[in-house]
């Protein structure tokens, strides 16, 4: 849960995660988007820093280990068998315990001889947007290297821009 509350008396817009909170409205951001996206959101960060948004509850999205408490398991088994200790169950428990301890963990151990222990292996990530544009830029430049044209830049129509000045001033204030 990542519960936040709008502390202002106005609507609060968190544009990049597409949320608008009415005055004093609280919301669990985990229901809006993935935790990583919410935590990386500039609008959330800015709103929290500015005090517009208060974090009420934020549990850890990590560290949820599915460990088995053997004592608890024994207790449950005993309760389900009227408190009697059954040797077969005890044996099964021992087997289960040894099986669990011998199971590989989720960590992948890199065994290639090319890497030393201290080598850091970067995760393979999606191409970043900037890299993608740079790749396209090379492709387009190569494609258009032999282009010529007789198109003249033509301005066909013009209209009064006085209204735009007002809009620009308003938007500068808002954004």
């Amino acid at each position: 849960m990542f519960l936040v509350v709008n502390t202002t008396r106005q609507h609060l817009s968190l544009g990049d995660i597409k949320v608008v909170l009415s005055p004093s409205q609280s919301i669990d951001l985990d229901n809006v988007a993935d935790r990583r996206i919410v935590e990386a959101s500039p609008s959330v960060k800015k709103a929290v820093v500015a005090g517009y948004l208060r974090v009420v509850t934020k549990d850890s999205s990590h560290g949820r280990h599915n460990t088995i408490d053997m004592d608890e398991l024994r207790k449950i088994v005993r309760e389900e068998n009227d408190g009697k200790t059954i040797s077969a169950i005890a044996e099964s428990l021992a087997e289960l315990k040894s099986m669990l301890s011998s199971m590989p963990t989720t960590q992948v151990v890199h065994v290639s001889s090319r890497f030393e222990k201290n080598d850091v292996i970067e995760p393979i990530s999606e191409p970043q947007a900037e890299n993608l544009v740079a790749i396209h830029e090379k492709v387009v430049s190569r494609m258009a290297s032999n282009l010529s044209t007789n198109i003249d830049p033509q301005k066909s129509k013009s209209k009064d821009a006085s209204d735009m000045k007002k809009k620009l001033d308003e938007l500068e204030g808002l954004l």
Partner: protein, 390 residues
Amino acid sequence: MNAHQKAVHNVASLKRPASVAPNAPVKTANNTESLQAQESPARAVGVDVGTMFFQTAELVDDKISVSAVRNAFVEIPYSSELEEILTRNGWRYVKDGTQYFVVGDDSMQVAKLFPGSVEIRRPLQDGVLNRDEPKKSLVLSGVIESSLGKAPDENSVICTCVSSPCADAGQDSTFHTARLKAMFTRLGWNVKVIEEGLAVILSERPSVVLDDGTEVPFSGIGMSFGAGRANCVVAYKGMQVLGMSVSRSGDWVDKQVSEQTAVPVSQVIDFKERVLDFENIDEDNDIAFALDAYYDAMLRHVVGLFAKKFTEVKSQFDKPLDVVIAGGTSMPKGFEKKLARIMSSVNLPFKIGDVRKAADPRNSVCSGLLTSAQIVKNRLVKGVITREQV
């Protein structure tokens, strides 16, 4: 250099100087004293690369100067006299080696002159780069480079738009966005990309009025009905809250009507642009009747998916939201009333205020893009943001 070669402006000759010193007192044609940062040669241009038209808007002497090139071309087989013919007729073209592509409205004229031997092709389809057109990037690069030239300095900005994520069967726009951006960045421009519906908001300035009478500008719903897609954006104080698009818009309507009435698409478009009036439908006229029916189906599809999307993001607006409409497909008379009727008949998770059409529906998106480009440019010139933050 012979006469024909002279007529062909090498792209390099159209390019503006790339190494103009920042803040040098260069007066460009598009540099105005009042709206643009003084003493800066930086340009700000709104560019709408649409399925039907390639449009630009720029401030020139305190006026918004708008240009439009039909986003279509035909390829003409090479012959030794070809360049002379093209030049004599004044046809605009892009040349790549021995390949000639006549672009814009001229392509329509050429297609009419040579029926069957040349066909009209489009760089874009359904709001994104046409995946079936191998020459799309080549032709579009030529049009962009000749229309805009190189950025005069490092603070010059182009703001362009893409469709919002598609809510129905439309194509993803990741490739389209990256390729389009690259066509501008390779010419030295800083590029800001916004969603099309937001451009309508920035141009038409819908507002919400609070209980105490305070007006909240740039808040409401912006809808753009182009040829390829219909786009919807909800914004609050100029910030986008929600955006979506659907792949049913003008082209879909035209195609359906053409199939149902056995009338060529070109005639359907002609009727739509010259005659269609939703307040006065002649039900004995098959084209009018079919257009009315398919516009209705298209709008119900758009509004239905929009309501669903709005519900999913759990946004809450207590006050009625004004709707502003733009785009060539919204041009027929009575379109806004038809949309208002459909919106009121659908169970929407918000209240609708006024539904109004932009004064200049065809150029509204481009004007909004220019507004955004101006803001970014002013911030760059003042050093409020860096090029990386554009």
